[in-house]
Each structure stands twice: as C-alpha cells, then as structure tokens.
Symmetry: C2
Subunit: 267 residues, 2 copies
Amino acid sequence: MASSSCSIDLSGPTYCIVSGASQGIGRAIAAEVAKLLGPKSLMLLLARKADELAKTASMCQSDNVKAIYKSIDLGKASTKEMNDVIVNSLEGYKVTDFATCLIFHNVGSLGNLAIETARIEDSNELAQYYDLNVFKVISLNTQFLKIFEAVEDRIIIVNITSLCAIKPMSGMAYYCSGKAAREMYFKVLAEEKKHIKVLNYSPGPVETSMIDYVLTEAVNDNLRDVFTSFKNQGVLLKPDMTARKCMKVLQAGKFTPGEHVDYFDDE
Amino acid sequence: MASSSCSIDLSGPTYCIVSGASQGIGRAIAAEVAKLLGPKSLMLLLARKADELAKTASMCQSDNVKAIYKSIDLGKASTKEMNDVIVNSLEGYKVTDFATCLIFHNVGSLGNLAIETARIEDSNELAQYYDLNVFKVISLNTQFLKIFEAVEDRIIIVNITSLCAIKPMSGMAYYCSGKAAREMYFKVLAEEKKHIKVLNYSPGPVETSMIDYVLTEAVNDNLRDVFTSFKNQGVLLKPDMTARKCMKVLQAGKFTPGEHVDYFDDE
C-alpha cells in the first residue's frame, strides 16, 4: 500500500488512554498499541479491577512505554475524578511533550438481556446503562479534550463501537441503542472538530466474556442462536486479531471523520 | 400507484395516541390522521399544555373521531401514570373494539445547544435529555404494547425521528445522539416483533418553534447558518405538509420493519 499523506505515525512520544483495559478487547488494544509507540510514551490504563489492570500494564511496559493504571469505576466517577486521573497521570510531563495524544474508549457493557424489548420500561435502569456506556464516555472524552486543548491537532480518538450501532440485533435493545447514541456523539464531534482524528472502530464478534454473558442471560432465542453458532463454528475473533486490525486502520489513516470502520471492511 | 397487499387501512375504528400533540408537527399529525380514521375511532392527545391540547382535540373531533386529551409531562411521568393515562382513555371500550391501534411518538426536545460538543460533560443534563427523548418514549411505548397485547397484530408504531438520527449535524450532539438511540430502539423492536408495523418517519426541516430555538440558542456557527438559510430561503416545510406525507408513507405501507423514511425520499 502506498503511504498516504494522512497516515498516522505513532512512533513519536505518545500519550495514550485505554478505558476498559482490564480484559478482552481493551487489554488487547493496549498491548497492540504499546508495540507501536515511540520512546517516552505514556499509557494510562483505566478499569475497575486493579489486579487485572496491573497485568495489562505489564504487557504494555517497555523501554519506550511507561504504563500506569488506575482503578476507577467510570460508571460512577465524577467529572472531577476523571479530570484528576488524567492530570495526575501527567505529573512530570507537559502536554507538549507528546507528538500524539490518543484515547481508546473501550469501556462498555451489554445491558439487560433478560428482558424482551417490548417489555423495557424501567427508565432508571436505562439511565444507569446509558450513564456508563454513553454519558460518562462523553464526560471522560471532554476531560481529555480540555487537558490536551493546547495540542488539539495532535489528538486521536478511537471509539470502540459495534455493528449493533448501525444494525439492529434482536434482544439487544440496550446495547444497540446505546452504541448508536455513542457513535453518533463521536460523529458530531468529528464534524465540529475537523483537525481531530476520530474513528469509530467496530471489532467484529470477539471471544470475550461478553459472549458467555449473552449465552447465559439472553431471553431472545434468535440472539442466543446467533452467539451459539458463532461459538460452535469457531468464527469468533481472538482479541489480539481485532486489536491488530484496529491499529492497521488507525495507522493507515484513511477513515473519514467519525467513520464507522468494521473488522470485516476491506482495507 | 397499484395498491399493495401491505397497504395500511385506517378507515376502521382506530385507537390513536399522539404525544407532543400541543403544537407543531404533533398537532399537524393529529389533525391529518383524524381525517383518515373510521367511525368509532378514539384519539388520545398527550402533551403538557392542556389549553393547546384542547385546540388540537377540537381539530381532530368529528363524527368518526372522539378526541380526548390529557396534560402530562412525559419527562416526569412514572410508568404507572403512563399506563393509567392509556387505560383511563379506554374506559367504556375493549381493545378488541379497534381494528387498528396506532401510536405516534412525536414528543421531543433539542437539548442544550449553548455548549460546544467538545465541552459536554454534565452527565445529569445528558440523563435528563435522554429521559424525555429516549427512556420515557420507550416506557410509554411499552405501556401501549402491554395494554394492546391481545391485539398485537393490529398495532402500528410511528416514531418521529430526524435526519439527525443518521447524519451528524454540528452543534446538535444531544439531538443527533438521542434521535439515533431512539430510532435504534424502534428498529430492534421491529426486528423482534415482525407482526407489528414500525415506521421511523423523518419529517424534514419544518417551520416550528424549534427553528427559532436553534437560532436563539445555538453556539455553533454552522448550525445557525444552516437554519438561517432554511428560514431565509423559505425552504422550511409547513407542519401539515410533512404530516400529510407521513400519512401517505403510512398508508402505502411499503416501509420495511423499523425503516427510516424521510420526507424527501421518493415515493
């Protein structure tokens, strides 16, 4: 592939946040991006489970990369706590020390799969789901944008989305509608901030704990059938496969602002 | 146009809810659908302002149609209140009295236009916006589905969506993301309930109080420019024009389950 003028170079000193970095796709993304980052890079890994974050950090740490982590429940954190966690990670650094400022919004949950879509009525449960999956993602993103405002043209944002954001899936009304909302927020942001690179990356069906959660919780037969056949036919992707594809898409830099790019899309 | 087997006949006794029926598109939809309904039809008009609802009701009332209204703040109403408002409207009727059970989810707001997308961080304000525009719409829809469960195959649901649900618009992150979420919920519902007709109708740019709200509130220059030129060039649709198109789309019945159909789409 001929190199394009818009290709993204991560080989300089890079600041990089990964949310939901304690497992699955988040961990794989952290490990894959770490391999690409240049000297004096700094990674901040966020999730609830400190012990699992420590493992991810050890996978990322290298001569080039200092990997730190912070246990935080992004569904409950205040704006100030989010701001503090980023500011504290930058102690001893200036934002201008970094050639690239990168954030992967990977945190996410599936929502209540034990209810038929036609019976959803609990607005508090909906609010709680959206809080973690949409509202707090927006809040964290805004703290990131504020803190790196002076070097705004160095910012790259990757939202981990899903095919479900653009294609309805039976039995997943929480997940589909939340992903649709989240992806659209990033698209509007990309529309306004043309000099910030924004990618909506859809990782495909990946072998994570979410798969078993669906098989255990889902009341929708079609949904369980789809995931059972994914599992039985061995078509589920390994987290590192989709994380590598995400890096390829990112580095090629061919995506339009806020574009939804799927694992299975042509390169 | 040759009549299609899937065309929708509203000339029987019809039960019909319109939310946000006190003004603009909601009022126009109520008035237009009322003209099509057969003898012994019953309309329930919902919004906050009783006096404006009374005007809409008088536009709908006819030999065929009994139009009643109820002042309700759908952003604050509990599930029980929503259920009660529908049940009470049905006093003296059985659900089997109606050949068609129709609901137009028109209620909606624009969200905070006075903040740049890159500065949105107040998750409580986001939650409040989504409550009225997404969560409570889902709750109301579920009450409707429960009450008419025995005649589920007679149900028709129309969600008033927007081009903004599928196309990002600068300065409208609340509106775009909320409309995306709301539309996707209805798409998932349609996917699960193939025997219920679900339409996402996008009314185009309509001359309503929302236009002036944008011009007054919006901090995004591009957004204000777009709406100013809509206004100056006289391209804004009258509410009754888009309401009539909505009825044509509905009656033709050619939409796929949950399809997003725009005013400007070919017939």
